[in-house]
């Protein structure tokens, strides 16, 4: 079996190969960086810029808080003054909800959501359900397989 030269840009008769497999310059459809232009500007002028909501923090989200991490209200929490964004998060979490869903429903940036959820956890307002084992065990995977097979 012979294949045409994948580096020949004039006749890419075959799908190009991954860049590290190519010799010479990445000419034949290898990886090209996407536009390095300006990042998209948020056009909604009515909303606050994210760093205002997080009191200036842009980093430092708890690594335990993943996108799928489940969050619930701590019903025993002492009432306290909360920012509108935090109140909105607490209001949503009567039922267990993932961080990603909170972010999507409140149209809050994911990074901002993670920082605020971490703050609310530290303040005792939210329970963040961190998993004991990070890697899924075979039994859980089998349950997902059975559950998926059952859908039509």
């Amino acid at each position: 079996m012979t294949y045409p030269d994948a580096d020949d840009p004039a006749h890419p008769a075959r799908p190009s190969v991954r860049p590290f497999l190519q010799s010479g310059l990445p000419s034949a459809g290898g990886y090209r960086p996407t536009s390095l232009g300006e990042p998209p500007v948020d056009e909604s002028a009515t909303t606050l810029r994210p760093f205002v909501i997080t009191s200036g923090r842009t980093d430092g989200a708890d690594p335990d808080i993943g996108m799928e991490t489940q969050v619930t209200v701590n019903h025993a929490a002492v009432p306290m003054r909360l920012s509108p964004e935090m109140r909105a998060i607490v209001a949503l979490c009567g039922e267990p909800l993932s961080v990603a869903e909170i972010s999507a429903r409140l149209r809050l940036h994911l990074g901002v959501t993670r920082i605020l959820v971490g703050d609310l956890r530290a303040a005792g307002q939210l329970d963040v359900h961190v998993l004991d084992n990070e890697t899924p065990d075979p039994e859980t995977i089998m349950r997902v397989i059975r559950g998926l097979r059952a859908i039509t």
């Binding site: 294949y3 075959r14 799908p15 190009s16 190969v17 991954r18 860049p19 990445p26 459809g29 290898g30 990886y31 960086p33 996407t34 390095l36 990042p39 993943g66 996108m67 799928e68 489940q70 969050v71 619930t72 209200v73 701590n74 019903h75 025993a76 929490a77 002492v78 009432p79 909360l82 935090m86 607490v90 209001a91 979490c93 009567g94 039922e95 267990p96 993932s98 990603a100 869903e101 999507a104 429903r105 994911l110 990074g111 959501t113 329970d127 998993l131 990070e134 890697t135 899924p136 065990d137 075979p138 859980t140 995977i141 349950r143 997902v144 397989i145 559950g147 998926l148 859908i151 039509t152």
Partner: protein
């Protein structure tokens, strides 16, 4: 029926502290759906999700060096990307999240967060633009995450057959390369089942060592 639950006072308000027992939170598991722009990631997520796909915005830091800008200093750019995701409730205590993530950046640090604890990934490929999926394949190989290459047959059409796609990607022999149709639930389900098979293999191997 749930007799222990107190009535839910919390919908639409932020009142806290009136007692009551919160519902036990389900265990979340996740599968990543990766691929270039417009290959059908959102269609894939929407086909299997029980809710219409939600969108969250996240920061992505990408670094382009060497091959991309020969002779130039390292350039770091931060862009906000939109990520679509869906949910499938397996049972009361188990929820499957499916995250669709763009794969156009070669060094996508955000993926480290994304794949933490993930079962595996489905790399969606459009045969008209195969090179769009290289970063995702590179990344998952390096990260050791089980993945499956799924060629999306938009109109039952493929410019290359599966063997040619495998050749172009040069993935290991044990990485499945399959075709599926992102528009159909059963087709997406079958593709995800192959991902889960890979995940199960890895989990069993990890346990026996």
């Amino acid at each position: 029926m749930d007799f222990e639950q107190s009535p839910d006072h919390y919908v639409g308000t932020a009142r806290v502290g009136s007692g009551g027992k919160p519902k036990k939170a389900p265990v979340p598991v996740k599968i990543i759906v990766a691929g270039g722009f417009g290959v059908g990631k959102t269609t894939t997520v929407g086909a299997i999700s029980e809710i219409s796909p939600l969108t969250t915005e996240a920061e992505m830091t990408s670094e382009s060096v060497g091959i991309d800008n020969p002779g130039q200093a390292t350039m770091k750019t931060t862009t906000t990307i939109a990520m679509d995701f869906g949910v499938l409730t397996i049972d009361q205590t188990l929820k499957l999240y499916i995250f669709g993530t763009p794969g156009q950046s070669r060094f996508a640090f955000m993926w480290d967060d994304l794949i933490k604890g993930a079962l595996g990934a489905l790399v969606v490929v459009d045969t008209a633009r195969i090179d769009d999926c290289y970063p995702a394949v590179d990344y998952f190989e390096r990260a050791g995450l089980p993945f499956v290459v799924g060629v999306n047959t938009f109109n039952g059409q493929m410019n290359y057959n599966l063997e040619e796609v495998r050749w172009a990607l040069a993935v290991r022999d044990d990485v499945p390369v399959l075709s599926f149709d992102a528009r159909f639930r059963a087709s997406v389900r079958d593709a995800l089942l192959v991902v889960l098979d890979q995940a199960l293999d890895k989990a069993i191997r990890a346990r026996s060592t």
